[in-house]
């Protein structure tokens, strides 16, 4: 009976292990959002109650914890996961138990589940605009695609390769390089990049290097004197949090593509930063893109619940589509039928103070494209979770749901 008094919200982010470095912040954001919402009176007249668990950067544990949240704690929605593999691990659980997951991190796409709402960027909301920027503004002709060897970089690079070749870039002008997780000795690779970049053509690095490996990478870039003016590096996984661990002076001008930067100059963002720094009692605490994604996701969920008048999964899932909430960069993001959201794409240059100077912004919002148009097998797939289609992988060529077969 007591359980009826509150609505439970699950927070499924690693607080220990390798991913804690990124995910802990997201847990804190969620706690802050929930606290705020409760100050406003909660949802449907009930207080929200956060349920925090630690999946410890251990992928099977993610599934176990998800199951625990859904079937033991009976949470109304879960905000969580960072890596693709953690999402892949919990996906069957959410589908089986019909839960709701908000996933806040940019990812490789190629997925659409009825029970997952993707508030981070799909490749077309991050990678492609970044490359476009480099093509147009930096006149880049040679490309180094450097990434950690896992699915997100692999897919992104595949998409980019296809895209670049479509733009007339020759195969020999693309260098692809994969490194293991946590790679820390970048001497040879940075020197290879320098070599590749001194062939007389303008060269840029597109980095999908993940997590911990970035700090040593950037330190090595700085030390070997790879300047942004000569060989700019554009990263998709490096945000303000990551930069907090490096001396950014030598990195001036290197780029990142996101849908949000702390330096976004809007009243909403200023307000958010103020609240965040007050909540964490740290006036220097930075914000970043996945945090914004959670803000958007959470607000969407609240709105959808109020619209549906219940927290029951099916009703909320249905009412989520079409919900529009303000994002922090001054516009409105909407939940699309493919469970991805519309976002602006921003390109920023690293500044000495560890922030990004926004050098380019898409004029309008870009809608997340779950099935990439640049991969042969997903070209003809679309996702639409509205009735009557209600399908995550509808094949427009065959007119059937369920990939290309059946």
């Amino acid at each position: 009976a007591r359980a009826q008094d509150t609505i439970k919200v699950g927070i499924l982010h690693s607080l220990s292990g390798t991913m804690a470095i990124s995910e802990t912040t997201l847990k804190d954001v969620m706690l802050m959002l929930i606290e705020e919402q409760n100050k406003k009176g909660g949802v449907l007249g009930k207080k929200l109650e956060p349920v925090v668990v630690d999946p410890a950067s251990n992928w099977p544990l993610f599934a176990e914890k998800a199951r625990e949240l859904l079937s033991k704690d009976k949470v109304a929605a879960v905000f969580g996961c960072w890596t693709s593999v953690s999402r892949k691990s919990v996906l069957p659980v959410f589908e089986e138990l019909n839960g709701i997951l908000f996933y806040p991190v940019q990812y490789e796409g190629e997925e659409s589940s009825r029970n997952v709402f993707y508030t981070g960027a799909a490749p077309n909301q991050q990678a492609i605009p970044a490359v476009d920027y480099l093509l147009a503004n930096e006149k880049v002709e040679r490309w180094v695609l450097a990434g950690t060897d896992y699915v997100y970089p692999r897919t992104t690079n595949k998409i980019l390769e296809a895209y670049l070749k479509g733009k007339g870039v020759k195969a020999e002008d693309i260098m692809v390089n994969y490194t293991p997780f946590g790679h820390s000795d970048w001497q040879s690779i940075v020197s290879d990049i320098k070599k590749f970049g001194s062939a007389g053509k303008k060269t840029a690095v597109v980095s999908t290097i993940n997590g911990d490996a970035n700090v040593p990478f950037y330190k090595e870039l700085g030390n070997q004197g790879v300047k942004a003016q000569d060989i700019p590096v554009v990263a998709f996984s490096v945000g303000e949090e990551e930069l907090a661990g490096v001396d950014t002076k030598p990195l001036l001008g290197h780029l990142a593509a996101w849908n949000y930067f702390q330096s976004v100059d809007t009243p909403e963002n200023a307000d958010f930063i103020k609240k965040w720094q007050a909540f964490t009692k740290n006036p220097k605490r930075v914000t970043n893109d996945p945090m914004e994604a959670h803000v958007i996701g959470f607000n969407m969920w609240v709105k959808a619940v109020e619209k549906a008048g219940t927290v029951a999964s099916d009703a909320v899932i249905d009412s989520l589509i079409g919900v529009t909430v303000p994002n922090l960069s001054g516009g409105y993001s909407a939940m699309m039928p493919n469970h991805h959201i519309s976002k602006p794409v921003l390109i920023g240059e690293v500044q000495e103070n560890g922030q990004f100077e926004i050098v380019s912004q898409t004029p309008g919002l870009v809608v997340g494209d779950e099935w990439s148009d640049f991969l042969p097998d997903s070209k003809s797939l679309i996702s639409d979770w509205r009735a009557p289609m209600s399908c995550g992988n509808f094949n427009t060529a065959t007119g059937k749901c369920g990939g290309k077969g059946s």
Binding site: I21, N137, E138, S188, E241
Partner: protein, 542 residues
């Protein structure tokens, strides 16, 4: 008057005259050009920079430098471009052209002129041609470098003038190379000049030269002679580069090896000498790194002037902090476990979890910034080798630590006593050795050395609670590969693994390279089941 003298005089006159006209007559004309810098978007700014450069007036140099440094602002009230330096709460404004004071302005009263990479490039190109005759040799050198990179044929005249006056041989040779580069890229250069330029570029012999020569080689309409010369030069440079590439790899191997050495050497004490399977070794490294962070943080807030010495100060601090934690651990946990080496694995694993989480709770889960002092940043070239200062110091530091430890263990009473204790604790005690104190000191020493590794690693890796985890396995590999209990083994093992890794990486890629190294270790241990520097004889078999 001899001819040469006359020529000199004439030239001086011309130069003087130009300078006079430029500074006098055009000073007023610069103002609107500078104003244009703040006109609008990046493209407008770029045009304004080009226009400023076009004037050739040295007076624009400080303006452009200010722009590059991000010190130029647009005063909102009159759209005037001013130079601002932050003063409490606002800015102190000066005129970018003359330096005249323009008063104060609040934060909201000015807009910063933003620059991006292409602007930065434009600025350095402009500065390049403008500073070729700067009195500062360094600036001239940088200018020549930038001309070499841009290869803008319009700059040829200025370059040649500068060349005529250059006395510094090093700068001179770069200027000549820049000239050669322009000659080679420009259309319509006579073949004789081209051939000379090819020679100059060949002598430069770096990657850029290679690209340049390649372009010449494949350029359409080049004469056969030029093409042949370019071909030959190309091959020569390529050869030279591949030799230097080997040397570079060796250096990378050495530097990776010394990182491994640093990480492993503390373990060579706690594990190699004492026999404690010390899974918390990585955390000692991490604590050292955090100690470095704290030292630097304190220096940043209390004595910013000491920043360059921060790493030096951190060395003893990290040693003591990690060492103290080590002694504490030894006294409370490890000392109950002697003679049960396998149990130390369980306990130290537990400790490593606790320490990680403790650091996470205190410092937060995110990376902490440890900056590089100026003498550790950047790089220098040695022939065709690029050596970064940071790595060089780490190599030196690693060898230093190794040497000191070697002396401590092999040449001092302490070293003898501790080896006696670990080989036969009871008998050592019966001989009168204070075993408990020795154990604590040794574990402290090993932990302290791990802390030193933390200082070095803070320069190249994340300072995060996970720092230690990423080195623990490598450390064990190194110690075991070299032969447990043999310090020289640890040294050679670390360097060997580092080098092998770096030689495999270019061919196999980082991932496969690492796998191959692991397989190499497995196979190697088959050949030498007690490591590289195995102790032999009855003494060990008994």
């Amino acid at each position: 008057m001899p001819r040469a003298l006359r020529l000199w005089a004439a030239m001086l006159l011309v130069v003087a005259a130009t300078a006079a006209t430029l500074s006098g007559a055009l000073a007023a004309d610069l103002k609107p050009l500078v104003r244009n810098l703040g006109a609008g978007g990046f493209a407008d700014t770029e045009a304004a920079i080009a226009a400023l450069a076009q004037t050739g007036d040295p007076a624009v140099v400080p303006v452009l430098q200010a722009l590059e440094a991000g010190d130029l602002y647009v005063r909102k009230e009159d759209r005037e471009v001013v130079r601002g330096s932050a003063s409490n709460g606002g800015y102190t404004l000066t005129d970018p052209l003359g330096g005249a004071a323009l008063g104060e302005a609040g934060r909201g009263a000015v807009d910063k002129i933003r620059i991006n990479n292409s602007l930065r490039r434009a600025i350095s190109a402009a500065l390049g041609s403008l500073t070729l005759m700067s009195p500062d040799a360094g600036a001239r050198r940088a200018a020549a470098d930038s001309v070499f990179k841009t290869r803008n044929p319009d700059g040829l005249a200025a370059l040649e003038t500068a060349l005529g006056r250059e006395n510094d041989p090093a700068v001179r040779s770069i200027m000549e190379q820049a000239r050669a580069a322009i000659l080679l890229t420009a259309a319509g250069t006579p073949d004789a000049d081209r051939l000379g330029a090819i020679e100059t570029i060949r002598a430069r012999g770096d990657q850029e030269s290679l690209a340049l020569l390649n372009a010449v080689r494949s350029a359409e309409g080049a004469s056969a002679a030029v093409r042949a010369a370019a071909d030959k030069a190309f091959e020569a440079v390529e050869m030279r580069l591949s030799l230097w590439g080997m040397a570079q790899n060796l250096w990378y191997g050495l530097s990776l090896g010394s990182v491994l050495l640093l990480a492993a050497i503390g373990l060579a004490v706690t594990f190699g000498v004492m026999g404690v399977i010390n899974m918390a070794h990585g955390e000692m490294v991490m604590i050292g790194a955090y100690a470095t962070f704290l030292v630097q943080d304190a220096i940043r807030t209390y004595a910013p002037g000491l920043f360059d010495a921060s790493i030096l100060i951190a060395i003893p601090v990290a040693f003591l902090v990690s060492g103290a934690v080590g002694v504490l651990i030894e006294r409370t946990v490890i000392r109950w476990l002697y003679g049960r080496p396998l149990e130390t694995l369980l306990a130290t694993w537990g400790l490593s979890l606790v320490l990680q989480q403790a650091v996470r709770s205190i410092f937060g889960p995110t990376n902490r910034e440890v900056g590089a002092p100026s003498w550790m940043s950047g790089s220098f070239e040695l022939g065709g080798l690029v050596i970064t200062h940071g790595r060089l110091w780490i190599v030196i530091f690693a060898f230093l630590v190794f040497g000191l430890l070697l002396v401590a263990l092999k040449r001092t009473w302490f070293g003898l006593a501790i080896r006696a204790v670990t080989q036969n604790r009871n008998m050592a005690s019966a001989m009168g050795i204070r075993t408990a104190r020795m154990d604590a000191l040794t574990f402290g020493l090993g932990s302290g050395i791990a802390g030193l590794a933390g200082v070095a690693l803070s320069q190249i890796d994340n300072v995060s609670p996970n720092l230690g985890q990423s080195y623990i396995i490598d450390s064990f590999m190194v110690v075991v590969f070299g032969g447990v209990g043999n310090l020289w083994g640890t040294l050679v093992g670390a360097l060997a693994l580092g080098t092998v890794n770096k030689f495999l990486e270019p061919y196999a890629g980082a991932v496969l390279g690492k796998i191959l190294v692991l397989i190499f270790i497995i196979l190697f241990i088959q050949r030498r089941p007690r490591g590289l520097f195995a102790l032999k004889g009855r003494a060990v078999e008994a």
